[in-house]
């Protein structure tokens, strides 16, 4: 098991290097070291000397990928003493540097993670349980009018852009009925009133595709031979559903669910920006709008790390829940 995890972590390194390479390329295509220096120094009149000095101080004077100056010290040195390696190494120790506005990105992320989680986690948990319960209910009444109507409604729900749900939700619940504040955030218990509406909307928007997907997974299980065995044993339909169909149907669900778990920290771009929640999602969206590449780059790296952790967790969860799978 430990062996497996170590190997997977090692396997993640080339992926993260790939991610870095990609962002690095995109980053420097538009934002040369000179541009960074200029924006960092801030002053209107900057002499070329000042720029060079800044670059030397920050290490931005090095070449991007290949350092010809250190050729004598061997190929390895030429390849490592570069801006790319320097930048990547910084990211690997989660040193994200400073944003264009001069704020420490790592500190910002640490602060903004929690509000994001406060929205994303309840949405995720409530959404998952609602979808699974609804799907099971429909499977129990499969082939009936209830089944067909719910499926039609589900297709309709998933055919509507999530933006409409947010706008309609805000107009109805906040503007017309004044049930919840239209936007804002507060940490702690008092913040619940800000959380309810985005969570409700998030859950509702996901019901359509979620229920359809889970229903098809459960229906696939219900035609299996072992379900027939369970029925032949004299189990009630409910026990067949909960004791046999659900545990087996959960296995494919795990793949889709566990992998996104770590990414919940990243928050939802749209939700957070509509509801004014100071999380990582709105942080990202602000950075995109302000064209702040340092933040975007950090978020890309963070997202990739969380995704890879998600993949690892998925594999581990399989060994826990599927007796047929053994890590090796």
């Amino acid at each position: 098991m430990l062996n497996y995890i170590i190997r997977r972590v090692l396997y993640a390194i080339p992926i993260l290097i790939g991610v870095n390479l990609l962002t690095f390329l995109l980053f420097f295509m538009v934002n040369s070291p000179d541009d960074i220096a200029r924006s960092q120094l801030g002053a209107k009149q900057i002499s070329p000397q000042q720029i060079t000095a800044w670059k030397v101080k920050r290490g931005y004077d090095k070449p991007l990928f290949y350092n010809a100056e250190t050729k004598e010290e061997g190929v390895l040195a030429s390849l490592t003493d570069t801006l790319f390696v320097k930048e990547s190494l910084a990211l690997f120790i989660f040193d994200f540097g400073f944003s264009d506005a001069g704020r420490n990105i790592a500190t910002d992320i640490k602060q903004r993670m929690w509000p994001s989680l406060q929205i994303a986690l309840p949405s995720f948990i409530i959404g998952l349980t609602t979808n699974i319960s609804l799907a099971l209910l429909i499977v129990l009444f499969r082939g009936s009018v209830l089944d067909t109507t719910t499926m039609i409604i589900a297709v309709m729900i998933m055919s509507i852009s999530g933006l409409f749900y947010i706008i309609a939700g805000q107009v109805l619940f906040s503007k017309l009925w004044h049930w919840f504040p239209i936007s804002g955030f507060e940490s702690g218990i008092g913040g619940i009133k800000f959380v309810i509406l985005p969570v409700l909307i998030g859950v509702f928007g996901g019901i359509g595709s979620g229920v359809r997907w889970y229903r098809s997974l459960f229906l696939e299980q219900i035609n299996q031979d072992y379900v027939r065995t369970a029925r032949a044993k004299g189990l009630t339909e409910l026990r067949v559903l909960f004791g046999h169909v659900l545990p087996n149907g959960m296995l494919p669900i795990l793949t889709g669910v566990v992998v996104v778990l770590p990414s919940l920290f990243m928050g939802s771009l749209i939700m957070e920006s509509f509801f004014g929640i100071p999380g990582l999602g709105s942080y990202t969206i602000d950075a995109i709008n302000a064209q702040d590449f340092s933040i975007v780059k950090s978020m890309v790296f963070l997202g990739a790390v969380l995704y890879i952790i998600g993949l690892l967790l998925t594999d581990i969860s399989y060994t826990l829940f599927d007796p047929r799978v053994k890590l090796s």
Partner: protein, 466 residues
């Protein structure tokens, strides 16, 4: 007049030509013909594909661009061209473009939605809702517009029905060619739904779409059926223009992903070994980056490049088109991984199946095996994923435009309309018609695509064959 060839225009037309060729090719196989017939046996699938076709036609109508010659000065020989590109759709709605109002107005309204401060004849300053400049000017100020709307509606419906019935009759005559059936009898057969394909539903949908279009168009000549936006532009026109953006992003992106995902997925699954490792590495890396961020980063790069090179473009349309073009490319780069993964797994499974073993025992080459045995058995997965991705992409366009990394803000798109609507909904009283129009037109498109994909799935998925 001078034709302008936009990148996306060329792409979509190239695709249309390719689709026609592809359709002709696959229809040669009786098996495929049979399958498509089964798809269309469902009235819902029939109706949905007619709706999709309507959207596609509007998009195509809006995908031919030209610049009209400006009236030349008597003394100059040089012909100058209008800076604004036109498409056939623009020509149809020329009256709406030329006659824009000042600001917001509700659907069918004759006055502006916002009051203005005016000085009246007595020289007193007062607040008033000014009449719209180009709405039903033939009516007297105090004359109600209800009757006019009613009469115009009746005329539009009759016109629509007449045009529609002509087409329906022609189609029925074409269908029954070569049979001994009398037309009356055939009409009965269609009415009772006894034709192999549900033509009566097709005709009903067709007539409905046609009557709706004629009604919208005809009434929009005198009114703003869906109101006007902040700068007085006609919302119906804006929405129709947005169709092209949505459809192009949906169609072109999915099609652009196909070569990548098919080639990589099949090679990974069939060749295995280090090829598989490399391909897996590529798609794990790509999918590990949150796609919005990757799109955001790439589109920022594109935008900066565009901004730095204004000399590339003669018109604003060309500039926003290039951004749309790159958006499509970027979206296809971020969205090929899902299908690729599916195809890899399926190819691997298929390559173990005995008919492939038999082919290998004949010494059939790898490439031929892929083409003859693997690819045809993957077609259903590809097709299902194309239709599913289409609706997903239409919806993403709105989100991306909202985030600011979608199409150019100056371009007509549902995303931009919704983005605007966010502020409009905050007004008191609310300006709801832009949002409603974008919502309706988008919903119908995505719903039709989703329902159609359901049908495709039911028919093509081999697990449903029993």
């Amino acid at each position: 007049m001078k034709m302008s060839f936009l990148w996306t225009d060329m792409m979509i037309w190239l695709l249309v030509v390719a689709l026609i060729f592809w359709a002709r090719m696959i229809m040669r196989s009786p098996q495929t013909r049979q399958q498509w017939r089964r798809i269309y046996e469902s009235p819902l699938a029939m109706a949905c594909s007619l709706i999709l076709l309507t959207y596609l036609s509007v998009a195509l109508l809006d995908s031919i661009h030209f610049r009209l010659a400006l009236p030349t000065q008597a003394d100059s020989k040089q012909v100058n061209y209008d800076i604004n590109m036109k498409s056939p759709l623009d020509l149809l709605f020329a009256h709406n473009i030329d006659h824009s109002e000042r600001t917001y107005s509700a659907p069918f309204a004759r006055n502006e939605f916002v009051s203005s401060i005016i000085v009246n004849e007595q020289g007193i300053t007062e607040k008033a809702y000014l009449p719209l400049k180009h709405v039903a000017t033939y009516l007297g100020i105090n004359e109600g517009s209800g009757l006019d709307i009613f009469i115009k509606s009746i005329i539009a419906i009759i016109m629509g029905l007449m045009i529609g019935l002509i087409f329906v009759t022609l189609h029925m005559l074409w269908l029954k060619r070569g049979t001994q059936d009398s037309f009356g009898h055939y009409l009965q057969t269609v009415k009772q739904g006894k034709t192999q394909l549900p033509w009566r539903w097709a005709y009903a949908t067709f007539l409905f779409i046609l009557v709706m279009s004629v009604w919208l168009y005809y009434l929009n000549l005198s009114y703003h059926v869906l109101g006007t936006d902040k700068v007085g532009g006609d919302v119906l026109y804006n929405t129709l223009k947005s169709i092209r953006t949505g459809v192009l992003i949906g169609v072109l992106t999915t099609v652009a992903t196909l070569p990548i995902s098919i080639i990589l997925g099949i090679s990974a699954g069939y060749i295995g070994g280090w090829v598989d490792d490399v391909i897996q590495y590529i798609y794990t890396t790509l999918s590990s980056i949150p796609s919005v961020l990757l799109i955001a980063a790439s589109i920022l790069v594109v935008q900066v490049t565009i901004d730095n090179n204004p000399q590339w473009f003669e018109t604003a349309t060309e500039r926003s088109d290039l951004r749309l073009f790159f958006l499509i490319i970027i979206l296809s780069i971020t969205s090929w991984t899902g299908l690729c993964r599916l195809l890899r797994a399926e190819t691997f499974k298929l390559s173990q199946v005995e008919f492939v073993t038999a082919a290998r025992a004949f010494g059939v080459g790898k490439f031929t095996i892929l083409r003859r045995h693997i690819l045809p058995n993957l077609m259903h997965i590809i097709l299902i994923s194309v239709v599913l991705d289409f609706s997903f992409l239409v919806l993403s366009e709105a989100v991306l435009s909202y985030v600011g990394v979608g199409v150019d803000p100056s371009m007509h798109s549902w995303g931009n309309m919704i983005n605007q609507a966010r502020l409009e909904m905050a007004r008191e009283p609310m300006v709801w018609w832009s949002l409603l129009s974008a919502f309706l037109f988008m919903f119908v498109l995505v719903l039709a695509a989703n329902l159609f994909s359901d049908r495709i799935q039911v028919v093509l998925d081999p697990r449903n064959e029993a």
